[in-house]
Amino acid sequence: MDWGSIFELSLRELIGVQAIVFALAAIGINVQFGYTGLLNFGQAAFAAVGGYGIAVIVTTYDMSFWLGLVVGIAGAVVLALLLGIPTLRLRADYLAIVTIAASEIVRLVGRSAWGRDVFGGSDGITGFSNDFYDLNPFSEPLELGPFEFRERVLWVLAVGWTLVAICTLVVFLLMRSPWGRVLKGIREDEDAVRSLGKNVYAYKMQSLVIGGVMGALAGMVYSLFQGAMQPDVYATNFTFFAYAILILGGAATVFGPVLGAMIVWFSFQFIDLALRGAIGQGYIPDWLMDSNDTGAVRFMLTGVVLILLLVFRPQGILGDRREIALDAR
């Protein structure tokens, strides 16, 4: 087995585009769920709206890429308002139901035959990323020791990690401010916050919008990297991956979602390659599993790791143990 190449390929995933996309989505969920206690199970819908914003504006309507960015973000804001207005006055579980339904609605409308002219049906939309790559300042591949990044990837990584840094900074600034304090208060007990003269509904709405916009950024980065906007990427498992990442890294921590995303995508790649290598070398017998099974086995192993984590470190990697201990009282 070539451990060198396994590590190299896994480390690429550590800082790869998938890590960026899920870090952004998880930062958004962190604002909503980690700090405000809003169960948004529809982060995939926000990501899809972001991706469709660019794809539809550029490819379908042949308009400017920049307008596409604006439409994608505005779309996420509108979606958050649509979901929030009826549900945020109700108990938390209603938002969960509505958002998970909305995320499927967005995906199914996107892949429907009815909307094929606009959204491209189940094949999705391609050919909208040229403007983005025209902005690429990198003209040749970058070599860093054993790593080599092609210029396209380099550009996506640079933009993506900048976005992650900005979002993390925004969360950091917000959560140490009185605004963040109100959010955390709402998470603990919204009636208490109401009784202190805070407009809880408005704060929940702001939280939903901000988290949703970060989700839209995730979708934009991913579809620009792929050069294609495919609705089925944004199925509900997109959302649950982001949740798993957030819980792994530590909900209600500033760097938790970023760390979680890096670890998860590193581990996925590492487990996959290590299993393939072991099968290739005959360390794992054929009757147990072959190389086609690695995709499923890595999810099983990830599940085991998450269960162990919740048993032995329920606060996540970066979380504060004392906070979890309070729940047990």
């Binding site: 925004v170 600034l173 917000l174 140490r176 401010s177 009185p178 605004w179 963040g180 304090r181 109100v182 955390k184 208060g185 998470r187 603990e188 007990d189 009636d191 208490a192 916050v193 109401r194 009784s195 202190l196 003269g197 805070k198 407009n199 809880v200 702001q206 901000i210 004392r322 906070e323 309070l326 729940d327 009282r329």
Partner: protein, 358 residues
């Protein structure tokens, strides 16, 4: 409070009591200077009329107790007044401003702040953060300015100072940086009260401030409540602890089955036959003649008073021990706010217990 303030303490109390001198001892009595006036407030839960208040006024600068048996509608009335629940009809005004249909946060901003029967400390926030949250009109609570710390830092410093003063007064300063969830039940009650004061209210509404509090803390909580009046605030509180009502209330409003049954100073109210009936249940298992005889001899009143003060040991032997009949007791005691079966409620009432099992 320093000792030299003791004279002014009593002065405030005397002023409050004096204000009630000419107020008739009857439900819905007019007060000389009401801060809160409610008219015809009704709230239905299904077929049950949980609150049905014709008229009530709360005197400014006084401590008013709202008492009544379990399920009398006290907490529901609180919820209606503070906007946490909506009435089927009615109107009420605070400082002359109508609050009907006003959402809870605006009620609080208007200067009417409540606490909850089940304490709502924000567990995963530290004590000082709980306190800071209470301050109103914070610049840093707007989204855009939140990201620019220099716009709110000086205000935050002032708020922190005020919070620390209050914490010191409530003897929570040593807990400043602990999570609120790690405090004891009594300390949480103190924190909740201190946090409510951060809003700088004119009217403080305390829903069972003594519930679940260790007796050792009771005295200091009592002092804190009466101190609120000394600082010029008006207090309205719901309480089952009759000692507390007797000690600090200037005026008592009694509710039963959603209605205001009686009003008056503590001593008067506690001997009011309507109040005694509400607490003990109607004397359905006695003949009228028997009841009358007992009432005239004063035994019934004395027994009821002993019961009201929560003195179980002195519970009278003359009290009828027949099992309570649910058909007659249910409408009195099995109110909407508590889901306990009527019999259990009656039993709890008899032993002077409250909802919190004290």
């Amino acid at each position: 409070m320093p000792d030299d303030n003791v004279s002014s303490l009593t002065a405030k109390r005397e002023a409050a009591v004096a204000a009630f001198a000419d107020v008739p001892r009857e439900p819905g009595a007019k007060k000389p200077d009401p801060i809160l006036v409610a008219d015809d407030v009704k709230r239905n839960f299904g077929g049950l009329l949980a609150v049905d208040v014709d008229h009530v006024e709360i005197q400014r600068g006084s401590i008013t107790a709202l008492i009544g048996p379990n399920g009398a509608g006290k907490t529901t009335f609180f919820n209606l007044l503070t906007g946490f629940d909506r009435p089927n009809s009615g109107s009420w005004s605070f400082n002359g401003r109508s609050l009907h249909g006003t959402p809870p946060f605006k009620v609080a901003r208007a200067g009417m702040v409540r606490t909850f029967q089940l304490t709502k400390a924000l567990s995963k926030l530290t004590v000082i953060e709980n306190m800071r949250l209470g301050a109103t009109r914070q610049r840093g609570e707007s989204f855009w300015r939140a990201m620019l710390p220099f716009t709110w830092r000086s205000q935050e410093k002032d708020i922190t100072e005020r919070a620390e003063d209050l914490l010191a007064r409530f003897k929570l300063d040593t807990k400043r940086d602990d999570f609120a969830g790690s405090l004891s039940g009594g300390q949480r009650k103190l924190l909740e009260m201190a946090r409510a004061l951060m809003v700088e209210p004119e009217l403080v509404m305390l829903d069972e401030p003594m519930a679940g509090v260790n007796p050792a803390l009771t005295q200091s909580l009592l002092e804190h409540v009466s101190n609120l009046r000394e600082q010029g605030m008006t207090v309205l509180f719901v309480e089952h602890d009759m000692d507390m009502v007797r000690d600090i209330a200037d005026w008592v409003v009694v509710m039963g089955q959603g209605k205001i049954l009686s009003e008056g100073p503590p001593e008067t109210v506690m001997s009011d036959p309507r109040v005694i009936d509400a607490y003990l249940g109607a004397h359905h298992d006695q003949s009228l003649a028997e009841l009358e005889q007992e009432f005239e001899s004063g035994a019934l009143t004395a027994a009821a008073e002993a019961e009201l003060s929560g003195d179980v040991a002195a519970a009278p032997s003359s009290e009828p021990q027949a099992p309570p009949s649910p058909t007659e007791d249910a409408p009195i005691d099995g109110g909407p706010a508590d889901e306990k079966p009527a019999e259990e409620t009656v039993a709890a009432e008899r032993t002077g217990d409250t909802k919190d099992g004290r």
